[in-house]
């Protein structure tokens, strides 16, 4: 177990392409950190630099306070699970898992190796497959063998490179909880790369969001969700994604595509002299006006909206409302959409309504929204103007307390078993 520190890490390829630009990140002992970003954000490159498969152009990488930039992968004592598993096809499952132990010649007796392999197999429910070859296993089983190979040798840290992206949706959900359970139980420092924001939110103690090789924000999932630093983070975290609407400010009121409203005091101060801003509203901050709790209703505003399409999902009802986007902000939001691997489709916003709502396709209906949850972004710098640093700090503090408590619980449980 170990802490990992990245200090101003830079990766520039031979052809001059800057893949990772000045990333600094501190990963505490036993922490589960996620590197997340759309494709081409440099997240895998960072991971491969940590494990030593990629040279570091500039900056310093420390494991347990010791510089390891020049060390070969084998001397860093890290275990990695590859995206396509990279199992040795000529070896059985047991030999695949035992491979790292056998490489450390003379360190383990034959008996020890067998005991360790069986322990790992039990953890991952692989007991009855030990004698089979990887070719005869299902995708999920191969994934577990790859994890077995990683956990068998008590490495200082686990590194995962998009380990679930080759599995189908149901198995992905199962393996996700499996990884979380295993990490808690073993308490091993873990760095996990993914492009899937759901995995990032559910697994990570902290999440580092990357964009074009630049670190945008490192925070707890809740911190990212409630206090994003800019448009990119706000748009990347959350499903369905946050709605971005153009807002014209004049005389303490803001004109949104669906109506004009009074600005809350908190927001009015940060907007300052700007007359055009980008307003971020999460889908769940809207509600069907007929279903809003009367006590809550006065806090928000109601407006008329023409619903284009609805999706009923059992627990929620998503309704899509088209709107007009002025050209001055359209360019910026289109570019953001492309960066987030989107398709630059029609301008519409999504609202998540109570599933009891009877709003249907093509209807004109009354919607309600809560302006206090509104985020305001600067259209030039894309910075989040409504971010509350104190509140963000509080969230992080709580998150850190929760993490320690849960590690503590896991340790106690382990001791009892």
């Amino acid at each position: 177990m170990a802490s990992i520190t990245l200090k101003d890490i830079v990766k520039r390829y031979g052809d001059g392409f800057l893949a990772v630009d000045d990333v600094s990140l501190e990963i505490a002992d036993g922490e589960f950190v996620i590197l997340v970003g759309p494709s081409g954000s440099g997240k895998s490159t960072v991971l491969r630099m940590i494990v030593g498969l990629e040279d570091i152009t500039a900056g310093e990488l420390e494991i347990d306070g010791r510089r390891v930039n020049e060390k070969a992968p084998r001397d860093r004592d890290l275990a990695m699970v590859f995206q396509n598993y990279a199992l040795y096809p000529h070896l059985t499952v047991a030999e695949n898992i035992a491979f790292p132990l056998r490489l450390a010649k003379g360190k383990h007796s034959e008996q020890e190796i067998r005991a360790k392999v069986e322990h790992a197999a039990d953890l991952l429910d692989l007991r009855e497959h030990l004698d089979r070859k990887p070719a005869n296993l299902s995708g999920g089983q191969r994934q577990r063998v790859a994890m077995g190979r990683a956990i068998v040798r008590d490495a200082k840290a686990f590194l995962f490179d998009e380990p679930l992206s080759n599995l189908d949706a149901k198995l992905r959900g199962q393996m996700r909880t499996e990884i979380a359970r295993l990490q808690r139980r073993l308490g091993t420092t873990t760095v996990y790369v993914t492009h899937d924001q759901t995995e990032a939110m559910t697994l990570g103690d902290r999440v580092a969001v990357l964009r074009k090789g630049v670190l945008q924000q490192v925070a707890s999932p809740r911190g990212l969700y409630e206090q994003p630093v800019n448009l990119f983070v706000a748009g990347f975290i959350g499903t369905p994604p946050m709605n971005f609407l153009p807002g014209r400010v004049s005389g303490g009121r803001i004109a949104l595509p669906f109506g004009e409203f009074d600005l809350p005091d908190r927001v009015r101060d940060v907007v300052g002299e700007r007359d055009l801003v980008i307003v971020g509203l999460r889908p769940e901050h809207f509600e069907d006006a007929r279903l809003v709790d009367p006590s809550k209703k006065d806090r928000g505003h109601t407006f008329e909206a023409q619903v284009d399409v609805t999706e009923w999902l059992g627990a929620d009802l998503y309704a899509y409302v088209p709107f007009e986007m002025p050209d001055s902000v359209k360019g910026m939001l289109d570019e953001l959409d492309r960066e987030l691997d989107g398709e630059g489709m029609r301008t519409q916003f999504v609202v998540a309504l109570d599933s009891a709502s009877r709003v249907r396709d093509g209807e004109t209906t009354e919607l309600w929204f809560d302006p206090t949850k509104m985020m305001i972004f600067d259209p030039e710098s894309s910075e989040n103007l409504t971010r509350d640093p104190e509140e963000a700090e509080r969230v992080e503090r709580e998150n850190e307390e929760d993490r320690r408590a849960s590690l503590e619980r896991a340790k106690k449980q382990e001791a009892r078993v």
Binding site: R74, A86, Y88, H90, L103, P134
Partner: protein, 283 residues
Amino acid sequence: MGSVLSTRARVWWAVITVVVLVGSLFPVLSIFMTSFKSSAEINSGTFLPPSWSSENYEQILSPSGSAQELFLSALRNSIGISLIATFIAVVLATLCAYAIARLAFPGKRLILTTALGVSIFPVVSIVTPLFNLWRNIGLYDTWLGLIIPYLSLTLPISIWTLAAFFRQIPWELEQAAQVDGATPWQAFRKAIVPLAAPGVFTTALIAFFIAWNDFVYGISLTSTSAARPVPAALAFFTGASYFEQPTGAISAAAVVVTIPVVVLVVLFQRQIVSGLTQGAVKG
């Protein structure tokens, strides 16, 4: 492959298979039978030898045999030249194919097309200039004088088969092994070599057979038993007397030279299994 054939199609396939098998194996069997006929019975007209005789084998193998000198030296030449040519071809082709499969460098396509071009060039058209050149520089009737042209036959096909094979190897395994604690050499030996070996074996066999079967270079670039390989030597067999045809001895020699080929295939049958790389990566 799992598609079910109709009865009609299956019958046709069976018929075609039998025809091909009989067509290709009957001559071999016929030669085998002829090799056991004594010189008096050679023209008996029967398929099976009337009485099994080892006379022909004695002629080419026993110390007192009339063709023993000719045959054994040719066999020695064939084995030696083919093995050396195969070894050099496989080593060079492995290095070349490794570079082609793993590295991006300018001229990659040029190498492959050149190799293909060399292999489709007719042997007969270059054998005469080669004959003159070899005589002038002293390579005529030497082992090296045959190994070099054999390389031109075996290298292109070795490069092509190995490059195709190496492209399928999941090279990420090498990195996985390094992370697991292997040195770069260990990673190559323990993760890559076991996967590459079947391809190299198969290629070596193909290269060996090409060199082993060659006739045109063998007969044109040699003149004595110093370098003459078996296929060429068979043409120089003579009967026991002027009036006898050497048919029996040639048949016996043909059977003997087939044996190494059969032995090699049987020996390495298990190495020539495809699909060994299955299961390394996502399904």
